[in-house]
């Protein structure tokens, strides 16, 4: 009996209905609120905002809920919404030096102006199950400090300024223009391997998949590309977003957003410059140190051509890194092989049959191994 692929409309409707029921889960368990997600699954929300390039905790929480906790799907939902938003204008460059800091560490100096501020971190926790979280009711919370949660120091000097004027650290390059190119409005132009391409590279890295960047950064540490980074400074806190609206000629503060910033330094081992320290930079929304550190290492690795270093690893190849790190692109394309390919498969089948028939005609006596 011939069963055509008909009834696509009905199947789609039924599939959507089933998905909605599954998303809700067991009905005797209360439904999650987006407030709960935004406040108790904050790191998921932060990751979604970063990779979607849209800072909005409430919408990001909604996407996490709608995607049933699949963060890449959530990123995709938020991106698809972002692309429909109008552009009111550009903010002034965010001044992370005047960040209201809740955590700030340097791995290069034991102590430094402003001090080390440990803040909240998983770093020194022992990864033992906290069974009190699995119980009914509230788990007991440690008392809040007198000064309120978080230290939030403002105007901390930058750790790397401690290297002073000795010239050990490469200078921060001058911005080539006042306005950064918008990757979502202008396609990436390759090779993107010059110093003037660094803003667009950083933009691409900030949106890139955290796991991909982590793997890329890790590969340089294991020898596929020479970056031997130190964490010069890692800071997390709140920065003001300043805009100068067209109708006003003075800047106004639109609000505060949380960001994590990472400055890594690594010794220059090439021959194009005198011995010195070079920098890599990472900046992401919310609290995400893994992503910020990975980004800064990969940023540094991608400067191989500019710094005349031998390119020995994939992390040093801008085309490889920039074109393959976007999880909305990658997830779509990898999974599109679920879509019907009857026509192409049929074409392959008939080609294989033709080629086999031709081979048999050529050498019928040789009794080739059949497979």
């Amino acid at each position: 009996m011939y069963v055509a692929v008909k009834g696509g409309e009905k199947a789609i409707d039924a599939a959507h209905a089933q998905l909605r029921r599954e998303r809700r889960g067991r009905l005797d368990v209360p439904e999650l609120t987006t407030e709960q997600i935004a406040s108790q699954l904050k790191l998921s929300v932060d990751r979604v905002m970063t990779e979607a390039s849209l800072y909005c905790p409430s919408l990001a929480a909604l996407t996490v809920k709608q995607a049933m906790g699949d963060l890449q799907e959530a990123v995709f939902l938020l991106r698809a919404y972002r692309t429909t938003l109008p552009r009111f204008g550009s903010s002034e460059p965010v001044d992370t030096s005047s960040m209201r800091v809740s955590r700030r560490i340097s791995a290069t100096w034991k102590d430094l102006p402003g001090g080390q501020i440990l803040g909240s971190t998983f770093d020194y926790t022992h990864r033992l199950l906290d069974r009190s979280l699995a119980g009914e009711g509230e788990s007991t919370l440690p008392p809040a400090p007198d000064k309120g949660e978080g230290i939030c120091v403002k105007g901390l000097p930058r750790a790397m300024s401690a290297l002073g004027t000795e010239g050990l650290l490469e200078a921060v390059p001058e911005a080539s223009s006042d306005t950064a190119a918008d990757l979502t409005r202008r396609p990436l132009v390759l090779p993107a391997d010059g110093p003037e391409d660094r803003p667009v590279r950083l933009q691409t890295l900030a949106r890139a998949d955290e796991g991909f960047l982590l793997g890329m950064a890790y590969s340089t540490q294991r020898g596929f590309g020479a970056v031997h980074p130190f964490t010069g400074e890692l800071r997390r806190g709140f920065v003001e977003l300043v805009i100068t609206p067209e109708e006003l000629d003075f800047p106004i503060v639109a609000g505060e957003i949380e960001m994590t910033e990472c400055d890594t330094v690594s010794r220059y081992t090439g021959t194009a410059m005198p011995p010195c320290l070079t920098r890599g930079y990472g900046l992401v929304f919310g609290n995400n140190e893994r992503k910020a550190i990975s980004m800064s290492i990969v940023d540094r690795a991608l400067r191989a051509k500019e710094l005349k270093e031998p390119e020995t690893g994939p992390a040093q190849n801008p085309e490889f890194v920039l074109l393959h790190g976007d999880n909305v692109d990658a997830s779509g394309f990898v999974q599109h092989i679920k879509l019907p390919h009857y026509v192409d498969f049929q074409a392959e089948l008939s080609l294989i049959r033709e080629l086999r028939a031709a081979k048999q005609e050529d050498s019928p006596a040789r009794g080739e191994r059949s497979c």
Binding site: M1, Y2, V3, A4, V5, K6, G7, G8, E9, A11, I12, F76, R79, A80, R82, T83, T84, P86, T184, R185, R186, P187, L188, V189, L190, P191, E319, L323, V328, D329, S331, G332, F333, V334, Q335, H336, L339, P340, H341, Y342, V343, D344, Q346, A347, E348, L349, S350, L351, E354, L355, A358, K359, D362
Partner: protein, 302 residues
């Protein structure tokens, strides 16, 4: 119809917007203009891949976001849209895309090739000959025909610019040496207007000759790779081959089991687990039309 500079958000027409909160055909007008500018360039340089700032669409990359963006940029209220995937209007993704445009534009949709003004397709060209009044929009996964021979985009763009296609000739030569034939069954590269080598998208090579001197405008959109390209009406499109190994299309020993057509592209349908199979038209509209013409009854879909 390709309506340039069409502003579908004319005042007083807002209440006709079928999907609340979104512009006609989803994309904002400045994005559509950006894409149409890219398309104009693509039409002016047939077969050349024009970079464009592809947007995230509410469907995943790989599901036809390039074609969808092209359709969204050229569609107007008067258009009649047909969407096919694997030649059929009823495959799930074709249904999904047709619904998307029905809900974001409210335009009339059809399954009949002859009725459509815009046909968005994945992997096939309709069997019914196209006309000057029609636009065929292809969904393209990998726009670069040289990609399997040279992974770097920087390099392939240079090769196109220099018209340096030796790699491709060597590939075809090696196929013939190894297999006695050109071993490409779909996405078979073509030369457009005697200049650029172009990927026809993963259509079977059976469909390649339909591109040659086609009266309809053919537009190609690759969303993830952010490239547009085009074949203007009545343009020479030649499938690559050698004089002594000419290009050939697929053919089947048996006709379509449903309509009896002998010169259409056939899908192989497995009937049971003893290997019994039948061959039926991949173009479901052409097949149904054929059957209607012969007074045959509609095939049950249940």
């Amino acid at each position: 119809m390709l309506t340039l500079q069409q502003d579908s958000l004319r005042s007083g027409e807002k209440e006709k917007m079928p999907l609340e909160g979104y512009n006609f055909a989803y994309l904002d007008e400045s994005t559509k203009r950006m894409i149409r500018r890219g398309l104009l360039k693509a039409v002016a340089v047939p077969g050349y891949q024009v970079p464009f700032a592809g947007r995230e669409m509410p469907m995943p990359c790989g599901w036809g976001t390039g074609g969808i963006q092209v359709t969204a940029s050229v569609i107007g209220e008067e258009d009649v849209l047909k969407v096919i995937d694997q030649g059929s209007d009823d495959t799930t993704n074709a249904v999904s895309i047709r619904r998307f445009f029905a809900s974001t534009t409210g335009v009339k949709t059809t399954t009949h090739t002859a009725e459509a003004t815009i046909i968005q397709t994945r992997h096939r060209i309709p069997e019914h000959p196209l006309t000057e009044q029609q636009i065929l929009v292809y969904q393209v996964p990998l726009p670069e025909p040289l990609r399997w021979l040279e992974p770097s985009e920087k390099e392939t763009r240079t090769l196109h610019a220099l018209e340096e296609y030796g790699l491709m000739n060597v590939k075809i030569y090696e196929d013939i040496m190894r297999h006695g034939a050109i071993a490409m069954s779909f996405d078979y590269p073509v030369r457009v207007n005697g200049r650029y080598i172009m990927s026809p998208s993963p259509i079977p090579r059976f469909d390649n000759p339909k591109m040659h001197q086609c009266p309809a405008l053919q537009l190609f959109g690759a969303g993830r790779e952010k490239r547009l390209y085009a074949i203007p009406p009545y343009t020479d499109v030649k499938s690559l081959d050698f004089e002594d190994y000419p290009f050939e299309v697929q053919h089947w020993d048996e006709p379509c089991a449903l309509c009896g057509a002998r010169h259409t592209y056939l899908d192989e349908v497995v009937l049971d687990d003893t290997g019994k199979r039948m061959f039926v038209c991949s173009d479901s509209d052409a097949c149904a039309e054929n059957r209607a013409r012969q007074g045959m009854t509609e095939v049950s879909h249940d």
